[in-house]
Amino acid sequence: MTIPPIDGTVTATAASGETAKRRHIVVRLLQDPVAICCIFVLLLLTAASVLAPFLTDQDPIKSSLAETLAPMSQQHPLGADGVGRDVVARLLYGGQTSLAAACVAVLVAFAVGVPAGLFGGYYRGRADAILAWASNFIMAVPAIIILLVVMAAVSQSTYVAMAVLGLIVSPSVYRLVRASVVSVREELFVDAAKVSGLSDARIMRRHILPVVQAPSIIQAAQIFGVSIGIQAGIAFLGLGSPTEASWGAMLNDAFANIYSAPLLLLWPALIICMTTASLALLANSLRDSLSGSRRRPTRHSDRVRDGAPSSEGSAAGDFAEVADDVLLAVDNLKVDYPVDGGRRTVVDGVSLTVRRGQVLGLVGESGSGKSQTAFSLLGLLPPEARVSAGRLLFDGAEMKGLGRSAMNRLRGKRIAYVPQEPMSNLDPSFTIGSQLAEPVRQHMKVSAKEAKALLLGLLERVGINDPARVYSSYPHQISGGMAQRVLIAGAISCDPDLLIADEPTTALDVTVQAEILDLIRSLQAERNMGVILVTHDFGVVADICDRVAVMHTGKIVETASVKELFSAPQDAYTRMLLSSTLEDATPRSPLKSMPKLPKRAQTA
């Protein structure tokens, strides 16, 4: 399963994508072998059509009774069709008609769609509403029927039909352009440009058109492909103009002779499929290069690989040999990601120990690797991440090399997770009750009824006043603070030994923050859980942690008890971090968090 990176640590890769995006689209396309093949095929077909007079001396229109259905020969390399016309000549010259007619469709679609989209997106208002309505109107029209009427009643010409088709598909261009314009318009540079007194036309030309360009190319390729397909369909219905050489007309002739010379169908079908497939694949490649994610990462094994044990004293982290009360022991954890031409290490030799009943704070600035460390312990890193460790002991057992289902038996049941952003971590489509009950039923093997009873109790325990209502609510119906309580209730529902909380209060109001921290602390004490609290906030650390590990650029620079760290920070980075925290934030009084027992008594 792919879960792309979310933590700031990996923004480096995203950033490299950014720079890449700025490289010219053509350059990027030329790095894609599929795109190169498609462009080659299309160029070849175009060239062959244009150069038809030089490639064959046969006439594509002149029929010859004697040559009817002639087999392949020197004179007719692919034989002759039902009325004795040379197949090769018709393929070549037919390309001229088919490709030109498809161009007509694309041109009409853009001639109508681009101005409408620019106008609607830029000026908005009533005109925009009318255009949007008109586009919905056209999109609801069954295109083929309209084409049938036009071709039967007005003109048999392929070009006319394709112009009408262009009109029918123009809403897709309009929508695309309009969406791009609207988004660009909101951006600052247009405002700035406006301020500096540029005319609207100039803004459109200078700032908006370049943005619309790339998606328009994709759209054009698609419309082109669709037009070729529709031409063939019209010809199949017998409405084309069979005398002029076109691929559709060839199909029409081939249908008539399908029983006597089925091979005739192959050539135009092949060339039509080649054209449309090349266009579709090209559009696909273009889209991929635009979105910056050319290749989806293939999944690495979930398993944590074997890594070297840390050499003596190499890391500032602590790795304690197995002792009775050690819940989690990590030695020399490394996480790296593939980047252009190599791998980038984001967690570099981290060693940690968490004991039962202990709260370990994992502190660092964004990008320090703290969240990556936390996720790697849960096995929740994106597939392209590679994780290795010297040792990775949970409750005395080695976690290295555990497969997915083994991890699923640990996750949720023995190691639980509280995320940073409460609202985005609830599935919006299911009620809170149903998504909380799911893991409970799985891990505890209880009935739905029992799970509900258990959860209602837990919801009450985490401070929710009306558990039954919340239980049957959807996530959008509750507040952020309540959502975080819900997530905490979910995390502790299976009575885990270790709770990993990733900045659990950052997204919340200051008033709610304290309550949530109190809740975590009291639950921790009540259940004697080990807790890893990932945070950038020393106030939070002071509030509830027993020990602290400070991370910087993927390494642990210092591990100490809270008391030691605040009183005598050893590492220069820690000192810098501490001082900046003290300057711009009012730290919670460390004293206030010291008397833990009364607080627990108070909430229990």
């Binding site: 002149k62 029929s63 010859s64 009774l65 004697a66 009817t68 039902g82 009325v83 004795g84 016309r85 071709m151 039967a152 009643a153 048999q156 010409s157 017998g238 409405l239 084309g240 103009s241 069979p242 005398t243 029409n252 002739d253 249908f255 008539a256 002779n257 399908i258 029983y259 006597s260």
Partner: protein, 506 residues
């Protein structure tokens, strides 16, 4: 056209029916006695109203429900059906018919002289193709319940054969006009449960029919299938017992275990010269130019290649079934492009001439290709005019084109004349009149027997000399049928009539 006035004909050539030989390929479906006969027709049913009825292969829709006054034997001679006897007076304008007295319509109404009168007058007043064949009926008189007298405005030699087809079919007088469900006295009745209007018509045997032996199937199912490939596919996959197919499917049909028969419905195809007056293309008024056009076509090659051999090269409008047929005339214009050019030069068109013709490549691609090519070889430059294919016939009727590819005709010479030759003929859009022809026609209509035959031949010879048109060949239509049925072609029907279908003998 293909579906045009097919019936009629003179000397008939009973087409050899391919006996149900062949290796026993066990096709699916079950057309055995008491079973269902599955047929397909390319035309759609226009209306159950006989006054609107089309002919050609659409006849099959009417045959199960409606019985005709007469039948025809394989030679085109009338035989008794609803009418037991028929007599003309000396002037050939009064026909007396004696009717069976034991026939009732499926709604219980008796079929009597009044019903016949109502039908004939109703049908003849209509606009359908069937109506056109009996336009000459001026009145119908009831002598007694079993005798009717049909009055004609002019002698109509083809009348008896017409009465053996759709124009002679009799519907219940209660549902003559625009009926939603047909009510007749025929061997079957329409079955609403298996009928989907426009698509499929199911018929079940009429328990009270008086001549059940001729119709051994318990049910008949007729599907409308306009697409030739769909028809071929349905035949090959065993869904149908019989349907017409196009000539290029013959090999595939045979390979698929089907029986393939041909029928010659008296239709002649070729280049029809509409503008013999020279109104659009003056050159065509010159008989030498028209003769040159006859020399320009290599009919033998056209038949062999474009028609896959399914046709007989000819230079005349009358087929070998017709009294007017003169075998020697087929030698008149032997393919000779040099002679054609010489004639054109003689007429003052050494550099040929230009002519605009309707583009029919969506209907008859091979015919058009051959025509344009061979005309080009003698210097006639064709410019094709793109029109929707349903505009083909209307635009010809409107006199828009000086000449074009076409096919029409009838085995009965009089029908052929009314279609092609007379001043008011349907396919004489410029109403060209040749006084000699007009004189001959009036003599033909008032004569009988060998005198009439001689006049027919004289007319034919004159038309060929005048190069009235430039015919290529007599069309052969192809009918494919499954091994489950035994079908006998009938030269007076484009598709075999229902009474010619029998279950294959075991």
């Amino acid at each position: 056209m293909k579906r045009k006035l097919i019936l009629a004909g003179a000397v008939s050539l009973a087409l050899a029916m391919s006996a149900c030989g062949g290796s026993g390929g066990a096709a699916s479906g079950g057309a055995k006695a008491g079973g269902t006969l599955n047929l397909a027709v390319s035309q759609s049913l226009k209306s159950w109203d006989l006054a609107e009825a089309s002919m050609g292969n659409a006849e099959q829709y009417y045959e199960p429900v409606f019985d005709a006054l007469l039948h025809m034997d394989a030679k085109g001679a009338p035989t008794a059906n609803l009418a037991t006897s028929w007599d003309y007076d000396a002037s050939l304008t009064t026909l007396t018919l004696k009717l069976r007295t034991d026939v009732k319509f499926s709604d219980g109404t008796p079929l009597d002289a009044e019903a016949v009168k109502a039908n004939l007058l109703h049908t003849k007043a209509g606009k359908g193709e069937a109506a056109a064949l009996i336009k000459a009926i001026s009145d119908v008189q009831v002598t007694n319940p079993s005798t009717v007298v049909v009055k004609l405005s002019t002698p109509t030699p083809s009348l008896l054969r017409s009465l053996a087809n759709v124009p002679g079919m009799i519907a219940s007088p209660k549902s003559l006009t625009s009926p939603q469900v047909p009510v007749g006295s025929g061997p079957y009745t329409l079955d609403a449960a298996t009928t989907t209007a426009g698509t499929e018509y199911g018929f079940v045997a009429n328990p009270n029919y008086w001549e059940k032996n001729s119709y051994p199937f318990e049910k008949v199912d007729i599907k409308t299938m306009s697409d030739p490939t769909a028809r071929t596919n349905a035949l090959l996959s065993g869904q149908l017992d019989g349907a017409g197919i196009s000539p290029d499917r013959v090999d595939a049909a045979k390979a698929g275990g089907l029986k393939v028969d041909t029928v010659t419905p008296g239709v002649v195809e070729g280049l029809y010269i509409w503008d013999k007056k020279g109104a659009i293309v003056p050159a065509l008024a010159d008989v030498r130019v028209r003769q040159a056009l006859n020399y320009a076509f290599d009919s033998a090659s056209i038949v062999k290649i474009a028609k896959k051999g399914l046709g007989t090269p000819t230079t005349q409008h009358f087929t070998s079934d017709s009294e007017a047929f003169v075998p020697e005339l087929d030698q008149t214009y032997k393919y000779d492009p040099a002679k054609a050019k010489a004639l054109l030069a003689e007429a003052g068109y050494a550099n040929g001439f230009d002519v605009v013709m309707p583009d029919i490549s969506s209907l008859f691609p091979e015919m058009q290709a051959a025509m344009v090519e061979q005309l080009g070889n003698v210097g006639v430059r064709v410019k094709l005019d793109k029109i929707p294919f349903d505009q083909f016939m209307p635009s010809i009727l409107a006199g828009k084109y000086a000449m074009s590819y076409f096919k029409t005709g009838g085995a009965d010479p009089w029908i052929a004349i009314q279609l092609i030759v007379s001043k008011q003929a349907t396919w004489n859009p410029f109403h060209y009149e040749d006084q000699h022809v007009t004189d001959l026609l009036s003599r033909i209509s008032t004569s009988t027997g060998s005198a009439q035959v001689a006049l027919y031949k004289e007319l034919n010879t004159y038309l060929v000399q005048q190069a009235w048109d430039a015919p290529w060949d007599v069309v052969k239509d192809v009918y494919a049928s499954s091994k489950n049925v035994q079908v006998t072609m009938h030269p007076f029907y484009q598709t075999p009539p229902l009474f010619n279908f029998k279950p294959a003998s075991q």
